[in-house]
Symmetry: C2
Subunit: 515 residues, 2 copies
């Protein structure tokens, strides 16, 4: 057995069953091994950013990592932005990056670059395989690294001869490192804060958001103690919707976030760092909490926040979730697609069990609140701030959950970073309904331009408009084999989303937003 | 004046007049300064790979660098593959990458990453600006670094407060480092080789390919001494065509390259390293020259190869170029677009003064030889092996040379990495005629799969087919505002290319290749 086959068999034995791939010459032995062993589902992306973003979406829903197959330093770099998003989400991911044969590197062929250097800033764990005999073991350790703690980026660099040489050994799975224990002293301090009668915030993220039983415990704690609950602007996944505890998020805009956090004297952090501004701006603070607020880290994201929440509930003697019924969304009336009508259309159209992949950016910002009373759903969103995650994230989620409809809420500007994902959706016949918010502008950046104190001229604003020429998303989708429709009426938008989610296969809706 | 304005004015004072941009929040003060100073042409790309590839194409033709404007580590990473190609081409390029404000970095906001680490593997020169007072000087040194030697990648990291703080100082241009002198002893040795009567090869690249007067001197040297001339498979730019000296290139395929190099006992290297295989394969050598061949480096790419060629010609007493007239290409007859007919169609259609941007990969491999007798042209091609350079390279070349038609020879698979460049072509009304070679397959990878010794099954081959669904490039082009046409007949293809190059603005031809 060659090294490539031993690696593929090892990964499969450790629970990895999907490979998102954009291979090149230096990965042909892995393509061959994937085919011969027949052990994994292989999904092709036309661009590496699709591959890595899909691996992220897959793992967020499947809770096991996929493996990506990438080609040398430039191939990894093409996928690095979405690896960055996955790293910030703490999504488990294994990247298998081919390199030149060990003996070929010294010749500095055109595709040679510092591969270890290129992957390091975006990875939590990096290993370069050295022989066919040991690459299986490297693979087992990569899976363990990816599954360790809250989820990690493990990148295995594989010189081509470690794949094609004979002598491969299939390695047994390696146990991942569990989350560290939270500090019991912090638990006492948290109880004291919660019982102090002072305005107290529980600021939480991570696994607690992915299980309604845990957000339910938090809702019970809040109800009993008068504390408030809040989650970061960006999270790996939130289970939410009608009949589930409500999860509010920190506002993105600094002024709004400051207002939101101003009331609190005590802040208990569980699985989330202290909230900070997404960007710095002249004359605005980086730190969002009031200076006088006492901060208490009950569990970092590397510690067992779920156990901490259970212990808190136990100490406070609560167990029943408190669910405030949000009104069932009402479909919008016929008329132009204002931001409000857009939110109403999505909220009313979402079917039971939908997965929402959110890269709505500015236009979509109202949709999260509007969908509080929508049918129960999984909400996955951009996490590391690097736009271009939406179409791949939806793609990967649909691979993980073939029986659930995926609705991709997608700003137009950011969609163009990884629009190639539509082709993979067509190829795999994935039930993804992409709603493009066509406002023909980098709207978020126009707002940001004013925030840095600029009094922008036409030239500066022109750099943030994408209406010349207008992008025709219906044509783009059809060009990649995805049926599509342009919609200008809010009521029709609602019906079209609902209908598309019921049909198998992908569909794209270009919603002409009236801003 | 703030730091951003001082930087923009410094860059402009040093000769930089074009900015290819895909900015984000941390670059808004630079967008504002570019607008207010009105000193540069700003060209927007929808994706960073477009921006960096266009900067490469621009500088190859303009012979001065453009500046790119990119957003943090993920934004740079999105553009890194084409920075890699530019680095291997030794194209001068300045990357201005925004970062979080200096005081904001420690908060580890979502977009925070090791930016210096991310840019280092793809840059020759890296500097992080620290204050508004000094960023002007940093900019002047970045331009000098980019213009030093044969051309370099200079990456300046700009925390946002170094841009928006007051106190900016416009810096005077800094003198770039010239090329090093070649070794005069090597000149004597080269003369001895050339006069030895033994089979001798002059293997050259770099500036000598960009001036027909220099390839003319080399042709005279070869004619007088019986030496042969050859250039690498990939080069920054070649000036060629009817009435100019013929430039042959090393074959990409290892077996063919070995055959091509087998005759030589002496090899004189000028501006090019010893030829090596693009990739390693089981049971094929990495080194392509015969073991017994004597290698002589007359000038490395860091040394003055042009002076070396002039000195050689002087010592040998030659000056008149030897031009072997290649036959004027004959347009193909009506019929299906075979590889041969494709080459004939392109060769006959190319107008005088065309710039050919070549990412034709496997299907296009015959076109270079077929165009030897075409009207005089500039030929620019993928250099670092990282696919996805074609559409941006053509875009940047058209910006540099608005009076010359650009013909982009484009494989279908690789086009999809940076297809967003079409939108920039439409926005800037660039005269780029893109010919997509639609064979609906990663043809090069299928060949590579067999070379690693695989006996591939259907699953492996399926990973290298992109025909399910078929990409509709006419729809994709129209979706980005570029008129387009599908062509299935070779004679019509030739006419359509010729017509499109005569019209202003972009056009795309989907050539349905019969393989």
């Amino acid at each position: 057995m060659n090294g490539a086959e031993s690696l593929v068999r090892t990964l499969h034995g450790a629970g990895v069953s999907v490979c998102f791939a954009n291979p090149g010459t230096s990965e042909m032995q892995f393509v061959d091994a994937l085919d011969r062993t027949g052990s994994m589902r292989c999904i092709l992306g036309l661009f590496e950013g699709v591959v890595t973003g899909a691996a992220d979406g897959y793992a967020r829903m499947a809770k096991v990592p996929a493996v990506t197959l990438l080609h040398l330093a430039p191939g990894f770099a093409n996928g690095a932005a979405n690896v960055h998003n996955a790293k910030k989400a703490r999504t488990p991911m294994i990247n298998l990056v081919g390199d030149h044969a060990t003996y070929h590197l010294k010749y500095n062929a055109p595709l040679t670059a510092d591969l270890e250097g290129a992957v390091a800033p975006f990875s939590d764990w990096v290993r370069t395989a050295t022989t066919a005999e040991t690459i299986g073991r490297d693979g087992a350790e990569a899976v363990a690294a990816a599954m360790s703690g809250p989820g990690r980026i493990a990148t295995l660099l594989a010189p081509s001869d470690t794949g094609w040489n004979e002598g491969g050994v299939v390695a047994a799975p390696v146990e991942p490192e569990p989350l560290a224990a939270y500090d019991p002293a912090a638990l006492d301090a948290a109880i004291a804060m919660l019982e102090s009668g002072e305005p107290t915030l529980i600021y939480f993220s991570g696994a607690a958001l992915e299980d309604p039983a845990l957000t339910g415990l938090l809702s019970a704690i809040a109800d009993k103690t008068g504390a408030k609950l809040l989650s970061p602007t960006s999270n790996r996944r939130i289970e939410r919707g009608a009949g589930r505890p409500r999860v509010d998020k920190l506002f993105y805009a600094v002024d709004l976030a400051l207002e939101q956090l101003r009331p609190y004297r005590n802040v208990i952090l569980i699985g989330a760092p202290e909230p900070v501004a997404f960007f710095a701006y002249p004359d605005k603070p980086s730190v969002l909490l009031p200076e006088a607020a006492r901060r208490l880290t009950l569990a970092t994201s590397e510690e067992d926040g779920v156990a901490a929440i259970r212990a808190l509930a136990d100490r406070l003697g609560v167990s029943r979730p408190v669910i405030v019924d949000a009104p069932r969304p009402i479909p919008p009336k016929a008329g132009s697609i204002t931001y409000e009508a857009l939110a109403a259309a999505v909220a009313a159209a979402l079917p039971e069990g939908a997965i929402v992949a959110d890269e709505g950016i500015t236009v979509g910002r109202g949709i999260y609140a509007a969908t509080t009373g929508s049918a129960p759903m999984s909400w996955i969103a951009i996490t590391g701030g690097s736009i271009g995650i939406g179409p791949p994230l939806a793609t990967g989620a649909a691979v993980a959950c073939p029986d659930r409809p995926v609705v991709a809420l997608q700003a137009d500007g950011s969609s163009m970073y990884t629009i190639q994902a539509l082709w993979t959706q067509a190829r795999e016949n994935l039930n993804v309904t992409t709603v493009i918010f066509a406002n023909r502008s980098y709207e978020v950046l126009k707002q940001e331009l004013y925030k840095v104190g600029a009094n922008p001229g036409r030239g500066a604003l022109d750099m943030l408009e994408i209406d010349r020429p207008a992008l025709d998303f219906v044509a783009l989708a059809r060009g990649m084999g995805v049926p599509a429709k342009r919609v200008e009426d809010a009521a029709e938008l609602c019906r079209t989303i609902a209908d598309a989610t019921k049909e198998p296969g992908p569909f794209l809706i270009e919603a002409m937003v009236d801003d």
